[in-house]
Amino acid sequence: MKTLSFVSTMLVLVALVFVQFLLATQSRAERIKEFDRSGKLIVVEKTAAELQPAYNIKNKSPEKVFPVPRPPFSEGIFPCSQCHGYMKPNPQRRILKDYHEDIVLHHAEGQRWCTDCHNLLNRDKLRLVSGELIDFSESYRLCGQCHGDKFRDWKVGVHGKRTGNWNGDKQYLLCVHCHNPHDPKFKPLKPMPPPVRPDAASH
């Protein structure tokens, strides 16, 4: 008799836990309004798992500050607002004829245009896809939006050059110190002279 009562109590307990679990999961499901891909407002039902906070879509600034030298601006070109501050912003995609005609975009130019990276209204800032405005000295975050693998390696000092002290302060370089952002492929260099051939050097 004793065992029977024990089993029944256990059964009741398990049933209670199950009911609690069901209630908990059911209560988390919600109907929320969303935009579908075409921009139409729709109502979708989301389960508790889907309501869990996903990754933060904002391109958060890295926790660490990377000591970088001044960006390699062309002489006298920065701040951009010294000219653009007095100009009416023109978002029209076009071939530049009056100024900056030396910039030839060779960086996925089919999908890209100046104001994708340069902020239209405040030219002294760069613009991330999230809409956040950043300084030119933080341009690695802009590059890192697409080149995430390189950004990851750069942060730990594996991609790109670091100088300074191996066991102390390190100096990073911005992506744009080595790669022209408008034409990023690394340009070939003239090699230093080859070693003297031993036969030529012998007496």
Binding site: K161, L189, R197
Partner: protein
């Protein structure tokens, strides 16, 4: 047999005397003469670096500083900074980045006071075929095109691999070369007898011999030197890469000269015992190989592909 020529005792003894005299004479010639200054005698009787007491070492460094300062007409410092506790140096080179521009070769020559003429380079850059991979029999050292990199080629700089199991130090008959506690293989130029066994033993051709008097212009001489590293070398000794011991053993320690100059950032340097270092990150995350792994030299110089 004995009837042909009886044993000539008198002749034998005179030859022995002659040889004795000859040996003594040569010995006397080799010794510094009476006019030689005290420093020459001191140098002559200097012990192996590892047997020097603290005071002995001080005297030796002072003597060398005086000698080099006079020779190069500038204030030269000779350090003997010991290894840093808990540090084992490692080097890595990104073969997918190196463009073979040889900037590292000449930065090294400048930093480490190599002889300009006769020419000594501690770093050699090989041009290899992308089709054939790391096939050293196809290596080309003397490439000299207008621009590098050339199509279809990749470049592989080779310098001392600072082996954990170095064959070069084992063959030295006088123990003038050894592995330090931070993993750097060094040479005591004052103890080296120039037999070049170590050069024969090194599978990476990383050791170089001063066949002639090193030609080092005083104006180009780097006065920040280390006893086991870049101090001026005499004729007839072997020298090699020391991971810029005069820079890297300091606190804070600068990166080696070749790392600092590389225009593509292909060179990486750090402490293998520090899990946070870039060298550890790339060994754990990238495709890495060591040169001539089958020889069990266990290099601390890693080649890797970042992409």
């Amino acid at each position: 047999m004995s009837k042909n020529k009886p044993y000539d005792h008198a002749h034998h003894s005179s030859r022995r005397k002659f040889l004795k005299g000859l040996a003594a004479g040569i010995g006397l010639i080799a010794l510094p003469d009476k006019q030689a200054s005290a420093s020459v005698w001191e140098e002559f009787f200097q012990k192996n670096f590892r047997e020097l007491s603290k005071d002995d070492l001080k005297t030796v460094l002072a003597r060398l500083e005086k000698k080099y300062s006079k020779q190069f007409a500038k204030q030269v410092t000779v350090k003997a900074t010991p290894p840093i506790e808990g540090v084992r140096y490692g080097y890595a080179l990104d073969l997918s980045r190196c463009i073979g521009c040889r900037r590292c070769v000449y930065a090294c020559v400048k930093e480490n006071n190599q002889s300009r003429d006769p020419q000594i380079h501690w770093i050699r850059v090989m041009q290899l075929d992308k089709e054939k991979g790391v096939d050293l029999s196809r290596a080309e050292h003397y490439y000299n095109p207008e621009k590098v990199p050339e199509k279809g080629h990749f470049y592989m700089p080779v310098q001392c691999q600072q082996c954990e199991n170095p064959p070069c130090t084992k063959v030295c008959p006088v123990q003038a070369t050894w592995k330090e506690n931070d993993g750097i293989v060094v040479v005591d130029y004052n103890w080296c007898i120039g037999c070049r066994y170590c050069m024969a033993a090194c599978p990476y051709s990383a050791r170089h011999f001063n066949w002639g008097k090193p030609g080092l212009p005083a104006a180009e001489m780097n006065p920040d030197t280390h006893y086991l590293g870049n101090r001026p070398r005499p004729k007839g000794v072997v020298e090699k890469c020391t991971f810029c011991i005069q820079r890297t053993r300091e606190q804070p320690g600068r990166y080696p000269a070749c790392e600092e100059i590389c225009p593509v950032g292909a060179r990486k340097f750090g402490n293998l015992l520090d899990p946070e270092s870039e060298i550890r990150y790339l060994i754990e995350n990238k495709r890495v190989f060591i040169l001539k792994e089958d020889l069990n030299t266990q290099p601390k110089f890693f080649y890797f592909y970042a992409t």
